[in-house]
Symmetry: C2
Amino acid sequence: MEQKSSQSLGKLSGLRREHKGLINLMPLQTGGMLGEAAKEALVEFGDGYSVCDFCQGVLCDISNPPIRNFVQRVLPLFLGCEVATITHGAREAKFMVMHSLAKPGDAILVDGNRHYTTFVAAERVGLNIIEVPHSGHPEFRIDVNEYAALIKQHAPKLILLTYPDGSYGNLPDARRLGEIAQEHNVPYILNGAYAVGRMPINMEEMGADFIVGSGHKSMAAAGPVGLLGMKKKWEQIVLRKSGRHRNKDIELLGCTVRGVPLMTLMASFPYVKERVNHWDEQVPKAQWFSAELEKLGFVQLGNKPHRHDLLHFDAPALYEISKQVRERGYFLYKELKERGIWGPQPGLARSFKLSTFAADRQQLGFVIDSFKAILKKYN
Amino acid sequence: MEQKSSQSLGKLSGLRREHKGLINLMPLQTGGMLGEAAKEALVEFGDGYSVCDFCQGVLCDISNPPIRNFVQRVLPLFLGCEVATITHGAREAKFMVMHSLAKPGDAILVDGNRHYTTFVAAERVGLNIIEVPHSGHPEFRIDVNEYAALIKQHAPKLILLTYPDGSYGNLPDARRLGEIAQEHNVPYILNGAYAVGRMPINMEEMGADFIVGSGHKSMAAAGPVGLLGMKKKWEQIVLRKSGRHRNKDIELLGCTVRGVPLMTLMASFPYVKERVNHWDEQVPKAQWFSAELEKLGFVQLGNKPHRHDLLHFDAPALYEISKQVRERGYFLYKELKERGIWGPQPGLARSFKLSTFAADRQQLGFVIDSFKAILKKYN
């Protein structure tokens, strides 16, 4: 027993990732890979509480390292908001807005493609969750005009739109929903976990009240870290201070990311800001890749022509193979890994997601050829 | 404006810590410095969402890296609890327990030395916070027997004890409070942010229902990451699942530390488990250091003889100097830094905290001599 326990402890050190160095198409990961500056920050600020050397009591007010400038000046400009703060991630940002603006039993209206964390955050607050349905297979389109009638019917305290969603990479008409939100005077959360840091997005232009971003998902940061931007009018509510500890934010429990993920987010920021300018190269790359896979008989789900790097495919030919091989759905993971490619979730072959964000056209060409070779091998 | 903005962006990369390599006496940091194994994990799992390669939907169930084994087997044994989970930190663990067990308007009874985050977490839930007073300057002692009468008076839904507190490093009678909690049948949270990972502590032995720990504060982990241990009877309440997404924990919003701080916590664990066995060397070291500083006219606050590495001193002689020099209280920070020592919060000279946890006796001897030299220089 003692020996078993120390063997199992030994396994906690020296752990290695199997997928390092592969062509990465995994949608959760392609926007969160660190650049050189972030890798340096990782080592420099790795020790616990090392961002707090000169803290006067509030993380977002620290001037060395320059967190205050980043939060108060850099982020609002980047997000198109008036006030910004740091959170543990997109889900924690959604929860704190819901927890501040709504009470148990209140309604919230969300898109049918919402991330599961939107649902769970609302459940944690005790909200009545109303979903605006999508159009179903294969497009899963959200028509934001459908929000209007549901707002009248349910009088929600908040509405939320996922832009794009994490299942199909669909980009619904967020700007139109901003008009609807303003017409009905209902606060509007834009969940941009797959947008902020990848593509141009501006809260003000969308007419939203809140914008949520994810450092580890789309801003080349170590996980977990996120952002919340808002209109000034919500600052006193969402960023309300403790009655006893006057400089401490209640919803942030004082400070959130008191550590290295925030430093990697900051170190990566100049690079992230620049890469957003090249979004017009990302979209045609994704469309080309999608078209090439469709030539192999795969079916791209979601909006077409697609306007985001997150792609979801039905692959009936791969599914047929998976039914006949010993590894079942894992054969695809294994075949791709042998070719230096990491993307579909291990075990999935019938339907899976890929992201073209981090790979260049040459690498994607190799991925396309690899799918061809896999199909050929088994047929 | 454009130029100004790009200058300010340039400052986000290449940031360096000023206090790296100094003798570290800063109480927030001495238990959170990474060992070699954690430094390796930091680099290996730095990319966003890199712990999620083989995720089936729940962070704490991931078997590669072996998070599931760590959470389900290693941590309960270490904490003396039946069920454990990963949190963003100690404060987030306290909030989730309070949010699960109590409703707005309910009372919570906490010690007068509680961390500010205990107060703010309770405020976030909307609780009525009752404090068991400490004995005041200089000992700030908590007599846990005083909980009993206040439990009868206020019928709290929860009681909490900080063990030790972060201001004086006092260790109140946590075990006696366990008996009181059981007599009155009120759930008992032990906040061990400065205990778990530094000294032996066992939830079951203390008679507590919950134990809270901090990775970045006391377990040689990058920040932020924490632990929550509990009795099995609370699992269904605190770790309740989503009604729609059946494997997702509501209070964790699905997953908490989806990134590298968790990997550093795991990588450091064998080292941390071993260092706890040497706590009997830490206590006399702290007592010796305290006695030496008292010979210089400093006054150690809190329990005596002291039983923890966190020490708080009143230093009237340094305060007198600070009133006469241009740098005011910052002179102490500056003088110590010039000697390769980092400890008291910059600006403080009259009263400050130090931790002897990470320094050896030779280094502490040098610190004592440095204080002597500083006193001599200005007198």
